[in-house]
Symmetry: C2
Subunit: 316 residues, 2 copies
Amino acid sequence: MEHKDFLAMELNKVEEHLLKTLKTRSKMVEASLSDFVKSGGKRLRPALTIIGSTFGDYKSEVAIPLASAIEIIHMATLIHDDIVDDAEMRRGTKTMQSTLGKNTAVYCGDFLFTRAFMLIADMAEVEMMKDLSKAIAFICDSEIDQNEQKYDQTVDVRKYLKRIGGKTAALFSLSIAVGAHKAGCDRKITSKLSNVCKNIGMAFQIIDDILDFTGDEKTVGKPLLSDAKQGIFTLPIIYSLQGSYKEETIKAIERIERDNGESLLNCAVKSGGLDRTKRLGIKFISKATKLKDSLPNGYGKDAITAIIEKQLERKF
Amino acid sequence: MEHKDFLAMELNKVEEHLLKTLKTRSKMVEASLSDFVKSGGKRLRPALTIIGSTFGDYKSEVAIPLASAIEIIHMATLIHDDIVDDAEMRRGTKTMQSTLGKNTAVYCGDFLFTRAFMLIADMAEVEMMKDLSKAIAFICDSEIDQNEQKYDQTVDVRKYLKRIGGKTAALFSLSIAVGAHKAGCDRKITSKLSNVCKNIGMAFQIIDDILDFTGDEKTVGKPLLSDAKQGIFTLPIIYSLQGSYKEETIKAIERIERDNGESLLNCAVKSGGLDRTKRLGIKFISKATKLKDSLPNGYGKDAITAIIEKQLERKF
């Protein structure tokens, strides 16, 4: 079987598993969760869990529930993020908070967290529960940081990297590590995989933040500059605020509601902020590539290489 | 040592444990969580965990983290409830969503859930994780039900009981069961304790719902009729809608914003709705008492008796 087919086949099973796991008392909530699953997403995190599992003794019946649990945690964080961000759209469809209201969305997120924990508990994996709990706590911490740093023009690259390390890279890293661990990989390989994916996660978030400036609204599935509009300053703005375009950038931030972010996008381009951001993204990609090279040859390594390469071509 | 002193002493340790466990990166969030802890609450659920543990081989170092985890889960659900309810006040102090904003409050709740799971995972108790996850999922389900049933004048007693069974009684029941289980009690006693506390939980929530009508605003710590004002119809209204006061009750509901619930309170009194609610509360108290009587004599039984008796005198 082709490598790509294997991953696609396993991810299909994750899809079925997700729909099965998300059955609940309220038909309205169930329908909404099922719509959310069907609206897709990149399924990058469950893919990492499956890929991680191939480095050991791959068992579909182990990898699929684990990968599903990871995706469910991710879905829960997205639902809560959308509440916090007042987001109308995600993946080109209406968000749960906009269709069911913030109220139901809060509990749907909580419900998903517990479903994920139940899947993991079914595997009798106490250490994994701890790691997952830590990762979620880390995501929360970073989202809280992001919230506290809103409209703060002194946010620097270090704070930004810490923030995205927590809100994105930690779960990437954990996704592959749980797969590898559960498939019986030793500590050394698990930690190497974890490190590779941490760097992929950093690059992934940086590229996400670039796409928020330069992406195609329809392809990205949500309005552009949505972060900046809520006062979340990502790397292109942070860089833009550092150089000789500082004053212009500050003015562009003030003008964002009126000109729909046009001046700010201009600043990010002219100041070289976007270019510098891209360069940093590429740096993380390179680091991931370098770390990946020392992995044992085989399906898993090829699959990781494909994921790394895909990052640079991402349109959404 | 006096019985009461023992529980007070152990609950003090829970207090310390809570403050220690809730340390986090953001000083603002930590301060806010610590204020929340210090604002008190009845600590009924952790008390049940401690009491449950006394039915087996009581070890403070086991019971305290467990009781803390239970209270943290309860705190998390309160924080998320307050977001959903747009609540300004809780326990006589400002709610987290009103001081830190809904955004931070969403993540604080998530953060607390994960902290609780981490405490349980530290005990290497996989079964307990499953039970806790189920209980939280049950709470979420019931809160979603409550939300879907908003402004629904056809909600009946059965639906109401199912709702409060999930949102309150399930955690009461689990609180004592985890304590008993972890202290080595056998299934029979654990299940009996669980059943007693399920009934206490039902009575507790019914009395809560009565106090929302007849309590003293200052003592209760939040505005009266706050449920009805948001369209949550509890037992006094459900009963009031059943009899010959139906039309008057409907009108009173429509008038609630204008007269601050005065007509609705009148209806609940005149229709006998409040009296019937009280009687049902007492029925659950009696059932709890009866079930409790067959427990082995000793400290635990006395403590449960005291808790049951206290319910009937509750002012908040």
